[in-house]
């Protein structure tokens, strides 16, 4: 294991990000981590000589650029960038306003793009690095009541897929991590925005949200094991582009992808009728 790899982790004051940072520090890695609130981050992580807490507004390209420069100034380089910050947003498309939708994309998508845009010049120069985008199983298969969240996470899946090929020539790896349900604070009010203007007509959404709320605390995924898997991933010579985490993610993704391929066959003749 190369203990000198420097990690940059966004959204690290709770959940998977926090668990990952603790594991990394315990294993002796230098870690820069971001949060909207640096004090909350320091309180959650504690003081370590190898730890650089950063207060960052991920939606602001300049704030991100500054955080990355500060990290390079302190540790000399960034080897692994983990785009972990994100939050769930629930409601029908009709119930969520344009502003609520855009705010969720600010963190879930544009923040990720800002980090990639600003970290790549350093990684390209050093001809190495690993960008890890934490998406979700919702970025591969959508659930009732989470259309906007699915949109944001599918977007992350798509940009990761393209990016992985684009930066290969520089020796940079890119991985999409799609976790299933992990026992973090994700399903609590802290990490979740649910529409505050529900429309009574949408009964399927209310039922779906109630089901999710009842799952909280009983998720099968162990965040400690997820953190270990992520560290293992980075130490592999040929890491995957798509990495699911959790047996639920595994079975849901497979059944979705197989279902899609079967469904395409049903419309094959119409699909193939459109060439000159």
């Amino acid at each position: 294991m190369d203990n000198k790899k420097t990690w940059f982790v966004t959204g690290a004051s709770k959940g998977l990000g926090l668990t990952l940072v603790k594991h990394l520090l315990a294993a002796g890695y230098p870690v820069a981590a971001t949060s909207r609130n640096a004090a909350a981050l320091t309180e959650a992580v504690g003081n370590h000589t190898n730890f650089l807490p950063l207060q960052v507004n991920l939606a602001d390209d300049k704030s991100v650029a500054q955080a990355i420069q500060t990290t390079v100034d302190k540790f000399g380089h960034i080897d692994v960038a983990v785009n972990n910050a994100g939050y769930g947003i629930g409601g029908s498309i009709e119930e969520l306003s344009d502003a609520e939708t855009r705010t969720s994309f600010d963190i879930n998508v544009f923040g990720t793009l800002n980090v990639i845009r600003n970290v790549l010049p350093f990684m390209r120069q050093q001809r190495s690095g690993h960008i890890i985008n934490i998406s979700s199983i919702a970025g591969i298969t959508a659930n009732t009541g989470w259309s906007i969240y699915a949109a944001a996470k599918y977007a992350v899946t798509g940009l990761t897929d393209v990016l992985a090929q684009d930066v290969k020539e520089f020796g940079i790896h890119v991985t999409l991590i799609a976790p299933g349900a992990f026992r973090t604070s994700f399903l609590t009010a802290d990490s979740l925005v649910i529409t505050d203007t529900p429309i009574a007509d949408y009964t399927a959404i209310r039922a779906s949200h109630a089901k999710y709320a009842s799952m909280d605390g009983g998720q099968q995924g162990d965040p400690e094991k997820a953190a270990v898997a992520m560290i293992e991933l980075v130490n592999m010579p040929e890491p995957p582009v798509y990495l699911l985490l959790g047996s639920d993610a595994y079975s849901r993704a497979l059944s979705k992808l197989e279902q899609l391929n079967n469904a395409f066959k049903a419309t094959a003749s119409l699909t193939k009728s459109t060439d000159y």
Partner: protein
């Protein structure tokens, strides 16, 4: 035919051909463009041209209200407006990335948000979102932003289909392969790149322009045909290239998932 269609981005490409075929077949059509003057080739009582800024929700709202006051209802909504953005991710500015999202994602959401109250009330309707094969496969060097907008459309349509099922309203996302429209020409936003793979991709696509295998007249005919189905598909590929590329990509993802299964499933308590 008494079905009423609402089509965005109707001044060129798929949108323009769709309006033309629909009017020829006797449908009623409301069509949007940034400037309704660009829709001057169409006329008649069955046609309603609308100047709309899709990123302005109020503008979308009044367009939908005008359609309903003119034709009495909306049956089929086609979110067609959109454009391509190519350039290495680090070279495309935050501003340019957001602009691509404004049209391809947030404008489309404005239409859905504003039309849904009407479709819910009438307990029928069909929302058709035009994405791209780039909404399911990322094998296009330099198209990260564009593909991410189209992946977003694929994801939100899948969610939408479930959330509106109880009202008898349907949703379909169309994933065209390469069609001979102005998509790769004047409509494409290009960010000059220093990446060799991206430069090659930009050149490859410039060379393809005008030689795309897909006939947009037939692509549009297939979309109209699809809407006549009692059970329209959630994901509708159009083009032989789409039919080859997408399943091939999904199969390669399945293979990768299987290869890494152990690491995946060992993360549970």
């Amino acid at each position: 035919m008494n079905k009423v269609w609402f089509v965005t981005g109707a001044s060129k490409g798929f949108g323009r051909i769709l309006v033309s075929q629909l009017l020829a077949q006797g449908y009623k059509v409301a069509a949007t463009s940034r400037d309704a003057a660009s829709l001057a080739e169409f006329s008649g009582n069955d046609f309603l041209p609308l100047t709309v800024s899709l990123t302005d929700e109020n503008s979308v709202k009044s367009a939908i209200e005008k359609t309903i006051s003119t034709f009495g209802k909306i049956d089929i909504v086609v979110n067609n407006a959109g454009y391509g953005q190519v350039g290495a991710l680090e070279e495309v500015s935050d501003k340019d990335a957001r602009e691509n999202y404004n049209v391809n994602v947030f404008g489309l959401l404005n239409v859905i948000r504003q039309v849904m109250p009407h479709l819910r009330e009438q307990r029928s309707g069909h929302i058709i979102n035009i994405a791209s094969v780039g909404g399911m496969l990322g094998g296009f060097p330099g198209w990260a932003i564009y593909c991410s907008t189209k992946f977003a459309v694929v994801g939100l349509t899948e969610g939408l289909r479930e959330e509106i099922k109880e009202f008898g309203v349907k949703a379909t996302v169309v994933l065209p392969g390469y069609f001979r429209t102005s998509f790769l020409g004047a409509d494409l936003s290009v960010t000059e790149s220093k990446y060799q793979s991206v430069k090659d991709s930009i050149q490859w696509h410039a060379d393809l322009d005008g030689k795309q295998p897909g006939d947009p007249e037939k692509g549009v005919a297939a979309i109209i045909e699809m809407t006549k189905s009692e059970h329209p598909p959630l994901n509708f590929l159009i083009g032989k290239d789409a039919y080859e590329l997408v399943p091939e990509k999904l199969t390669s993802i399945i293979d990768e998932i299987e290869e890494w299964k152990e690491l995946t499933v060992n993360t549970v308590f």
